[in-house]
Symmetry: C2
């Protein structure tokens, strides 16, 4: 693919350079339009149309030279109105491949600017597995029309790909594979490849099949290249290979790719029949996307957000977690409300309580981050969970004593009140223990309930350490100080 376009850039700088040039052309365009509209007159229209055409031609040339992934990068980096100007200039036959490269949120904005005929034309330039990737964003009637226009095999593939949720191997696989029989010689295999004329990207092995598409081995290209041409495929093929089922978890498949340094692997059904293949580029996209979505969801964003989406859309995207956060804040507020009498008598309590809650939250988040990572790597099992709990409790007690003494001394010196310092130190120790327990139990419970342990862990944890921190500190103060 890369060979057809301008020498791809080996770093971000040249990519940003392309973006900059497009932005300059867009700005020039806008300047000319503004100037002409201010002056008016038929003469100016002529000037406008000439300069306009030159500009447009230059932009179009620029875009034609770029790799689809680079056009996607430029579209992502432009605000909506400029993005649509550029999108109109992209050649129609490249629409499909570029739609595949942009993020979900930007794809939505591009698709909503296209009519059904344009969408259909764009989709028809793609493979079935690529159409399946676009499908969630396409209007229902476009998909129906696509299905009727495909031949039986492709229609079946598209329908089955659409049936898999996006975190299963079936949603990531493609069908660009080359199969071969076991009884031919490598010489024949080489001649067969030459007749094919072109091989799919990311192909590092041929699949060796019997009748009914039963997979019996794989022939790595490097073995094909280095072995005696007289040998048969059966003698050279590898029978011990990593394979996947379409309903395997994509996260675990990604780990297998990382662990065994795979470039591609066959996807088979329960009868060991070859269905498709999984390639490392799909895995890399998946890893990057899940890391991003973990970060965004930990921060409380409901879904991927276009950097330049409208204020209204952006605000709604953030509401769910803000609402949850608001409820937990209300609960913490009511915990404090119980002790309003104590605070009236000793206002220093109000100034000190956020320290207890805050450090507890930070310390619990550290534990949660470790547990989430351990769960993701599959390192936490029933037999070692208890040992982990003891370790984290040990850390909490040690840190609780160290930091409890620090804040205790601070409070004592500041308010000249030794008892207040003591309550502060004890509350800190106890809230650190609460934080360790919550930091372990919240993600483990989420995992056991088959939910993503990262999602919302942080909000739930902070809710616990806030409410409990206020309760412990104000409770102790009420008992011992007042």
């Amino acid at each position: 693919m890369t060979e057809e376009f301008e020498a791809p850039h080996h770093n971000q700088d040249s990519l940003e350079e392309h973006l900059h040039q497009v932005q300059l052309l867009l700005a020039k365009q806008k300047l000319v339009e503004d100037l002409v509209h201010r002056q008016g007159g038929p003469r100016q229209d002529l000037v406008e149309s000439i300069v306009h055409k030159q500009n447009i031609a230059e932009l179009q040339k620029k875009l034609d030279e770029l790799h689809p992934a680079d056009v996607a990068y430029i579209l992502e980096s432009l605000p909506l109105n400029e993005r649509l100007v550029v999108w109109d200039l992209v050649k129609a036959e490249r629409d499909g491949e570029i739609l595949l490269e942009v993020s979900d949120a930007v794809r939505e904005s591009l698709i909503s600017s296209m009519d059904n005929a344009e969408l259909l034309a764009a989709a028809e330039t793609l493979d079935t597995d690529e159409i399946a990737d676009l499908a969630p964003d396409l209007p229902h009637d476009v998909i129906q029309e696509l299905l009727t226009s495909l031949d039986a095999q492709k229609r079946a593939r598209l329908q089955s790909a659409l049936a898999f949720p996006e975190d299963q191997v079936g949603a990531l696989m493609d069908f660009d594979m080359v199969t071969i029989r076991a009884d031919v010689t490598l010489e024949v295999a080489l001649r067969y490849l030459r007749r094919l004329g072109e091989l799919p990207d990311q192909l590092d092995k041929l699949f060796v099949i019997e009748r009914d598409d039963h997979l019996i081995g794989v022939l790595p290209l490097k073995r094909l290249l280095t072995s005696d041409p007289e040998a048969t495929v059966a003698a050279i093929m590898v029978e011990d290979y990593v394979s996947f089922h379409p309903d395997d978890d994509a996260h675990e498949a990604a780990q297998a790719f990382e662990r065994y340094d795979l470039v591609m692997a066959p996807v088979i059904d329960t009868q060991n029949r070859l269905i498709g293949r999984l390639t490392v580029d799909a895995v890399v996209d998946y890893i990057r996307k899940s890391a991003e979505s973990d970060m965004l969801s930990m921060a409380g964003l409901k879904e991927e957000e276009d950097l330049f989406s409208t204020v209204w859309k952006a605000a709604r995207n953030r509401w769910m977690w803000l609402a949850i956060n608001l409820m937990t804040a209300f609960i913490a507020s009511r915990v404090i409300g119980i002790f309003e009498g104590s605070i009236e008598k000793l206002a220093a309590l109000a100034a000190l309580m956020p320290i207890i809650a805050g450090i507890g939250g930070n310390s619990g988040n550290q534990t949660t981050a470790l547990i989430i990572r351990g769960l993701a790597l599959g390192q936490i099992t029933q037999s070692n969970a208890r040992r982990l709990l003891f370790k984290e409790l040990g850390v909490a007690v040690l840190n609780g004593i160290v930091w409890g003494l620090a804040v205790g001394v601070f409070a004592w010196l500041l308010y000249q009140n030794l008892a207040l310092g003591g309550v502060m130190a004890l509350a800190m120790l106890l809230n650190m223990i609460v934080a360790a327990l919550a930091g372990i139990l919240i993600p483990l419970t989420m995992e056991r309930m088959n939910r993503d342990p990262a999602l919302g862990s942080s909000v739930l944890l902070t809710a616990t350490t806030d409410s409990m921190g206020f309760f412990i500190f104000l409770g102790l103060a009420t008992v011992f100080l007042l």
Copy 2:
């Protein structure tokens, strides 16, 4: 590599099965030892030694069959004492490849159980680029001895690999490449590969060089396989390819691999001379590792932590961020301290203020997460930063009005005090605006200072929204309510 070991598992389940079997064998071992020690006597010693030997043999057999990455997984999942028992049973000649697969923290624990002779023997089974990966954890004298034992080319390679920081391409590249001249035919190239007998993993192209190692093109294996054998390499090679310099940013190289779906790419110097190659498996490891370390550092962990490290080590790893958090909490506490007089008169303020601070923090974190992602993807430029600021301020005002009204009504109804509700609503709106400003400016400033924008952003942001939230709310209350 995979072909030599037990059929690698296509999912996590079978991997956990292996771990479980090892744990059972370890437990059996311990049971026998305990039993015998309780009973004592020479007879029991005999029993112990027989059962012991059977057990050990079984464990050893199990480990020998596993892929190095799977042995690494088992070592990572075991507490320290059991980990070292298993490590002792691993064949010495496999030590090197397994050390490469474990995480930094676990590697440290394994290396500290080995003496210099063992380490030297392990390192000598590895390639120079792999030795460079281990080097930071090896004792200084082992590295010196290694350097003297290597031939001149390898020594130069190791020294140059050691010189690159871990986020540069030079630290990720290897030297397993196959080069060819442009003037030979494909027939000759094919014969040359057959003579080589074996090709490196992840090799999808040959590098075409002139004298002095000048790179003039690449010959993808798929072109080699499908083109006429009579054609020359020069006629078939691709001259438009992605390449990297050793001091290129690893993060940007990873993005190029993702963008252009690369399997491997040449690494060249400024005179276009071939130095090494970058492969997708190194890139996948890098992406996974940086995503993990982002998550851990956002949670305030100084470095990668072994899940089963000692309490003392774990506690120290968490101190730096807890200390920073403590200081920011002290500042917020002093802000509240200024208003202790107001709180004494109206204790409801103490109960309500964490709501303002908390929602502001959550909302600012959402903005920060988006900005960090935009920076990582290179989508934020000088020309669009201002537009982003306006969008985020718009979202803040909209959300501030919506949520401000919600908390205002809550406070009004709860305390039957309309003015208190009004102060609450206004404080919420203002703190949302502070959060949006801080959420954009903190990561952008970090980036401009050439620091990782993710690291500590969240702590700094929360410090701002806490202190300002308390100040705005208590300040407004003091002016309007008392």
